[in-house]
């Protein structure tokens, strides 16, 4: 379920109705929480809208462009007169906020991907070695660990 209600509107509406608010876990599982507990759940990483890969991507890209533009304006203002005047301070604040907004969107994007999409698994690799007592030992290990096992005397099958 997608929601495009602003935070302010949502809070106002639920407080007046005394109802429950739908929040989403990073893996998109929806939960209902009391309106007066929304802040607590938001701090725990829940969001008001479900993760949407396309929407999150475009949001992040748009904010990246906005951050770039804010940075350019800040630098141009300083360069123009060689001074940090009040307008430049304001431009810096805008740039700081733009980058923070971008970072927030970026964190939500990659976190959403990691939580909502399965990680591709590689098949395990079998390794073997002759133990001190002459017995043959065999293990199935993660491929990324193969160099360590080879270093320890194991051989890949």
């Amino acid at each position: 379920m997608n929601s495009d209600i602003t935070q302010g509107s949502a809070v106002t509406a639920t407080i007046e109705s005394g109802g429950l608010v739908t929040l989403y876990a990073p893996d998109n599982e929806a939960i209902l929480v009391p309106a007066d507990r929304v802040g607590l759940w938001l701090r725990r990483g829940f969001t008001r809208t479900a993760f949407d890969l396309d929407a999150s991507e475009t949001e992040t890209l748009a904010l990246m462009d906005a951050a770039r533009a804010a940075l350019v304006e800040y630098v141009a203002g300083v360069r123009a007169d060689g001074l940090v005047d009040p307008s430049d301070v304001a431009a810096k604040a805008a740039a700081e906020l733009a980058f923070t907004a971008f970072e927030t969107a970026w964190n939500r994007l990659h976190r959403g991907i990691e939580e909502a999409y399965p990680v591709k698994e590689q098949p395990s690799v079998a390794v073997t070695r002759i133990a001190d007592d002459g017995a043959v030992q065999r293990l199935d290990i993660d491929p990324s660990q193969l160099p360590l096992y080879v270093q320890a005397g194991w051989e890949a099958l």
Partner: protein, 213 residues
């Protein structure tokens, strides 16, 4: 503290940014003044096969700092401290709360009384149609105001509104007025977006203005 009240990302806090001033024979000290930020987003609808809007996606964003004009400064002083003269004594109903969208790139000046114009009550650079006409911001709710974090610190107040375009147009910036009626209204702040937003019917333009003082 500056707080970005983003309807899609949530509340984003920014530590207070200060600048320093120094005078001959005196130490350097922090100086804070009026500071505000305009955040605008263009969100386009994504439709289902049956024509129902499935969701909105953000395709453009702009984050810039605002420009308070002389008229806005005067009104702020009158609203806080009262007194006579234009714009008159404090009013319970007339105060900066209306957001207007610029239909042309603004040449900003401290003496502006309308968007990009020193003339009062004109809409030369302002949308008056296609759903982008000036309108009161969302009714402030708890949380739109962020109190100072220390004695003598700054506060921030958020004004936000989502416009839905009913036609095609290009938005260049925005401003805050004290009335939905152009004639006799007072401009508080104005700003150009970092780039223009091209809208078609059904698009949403979300404008969030954070005033820090």
């Amino acid at each position: 503290m500056t707080t970005l009240y983003d309807p899609h990302l949530g509340r984003i806090h920014l530590p207070l940014l200060g600048r320093s001033v120094s005078y001959a024979g005196r130490g350097v000290k922090p100086a804070y003044g009026e500071l505000g930020i305009f955040v605008a987003k263009l969100r386009k609808p994504v439709y289902q096969e049956d024509g129902v809007i499935l969701k909105y996606v953000t395709e453009w964003a702009s984050i810039t700092h605002n420009e308070r004009v002389d008229a806005g400064a005067a009104q702020q002083a009158k609203q806080v401290f009262g007194g006579s003269g234009s714009p008159g004594a404090p009013s319970a109903t007339v105060y900066p709360k209306v957001i207007a969208v610029a239909s042309a790139s603004l040449t900003k000046a401290k003496g502006d009384q309308s968007l990009g114009s020193t003339s009062s009550g004109v809409t030369t650079n302002e949308f008056t149609t296609i759903g982008l006409s000036r309108v009161a911001a969302n009714t402030p709710v708890g949380g739109d105001y962020t109190a100072p974090s220390s004695l003598g610190g700054t506060f921030s107040q958020v004004l936000a509104k989502t416009f839905t375009a009913s036609g095609s147009g290009t938005a260049f910036g925005a401003g805050v007025f004290d009335s939905t009626t152009a004639a006799g209204s007072t401009l508080y702040v104005e700003d150009n977006f970092s780039s223009s937003a091209v809208l078609v019917s059904g698009d949403q333009l979300t404008i969030t203005i954070t005033i820090t003082n």
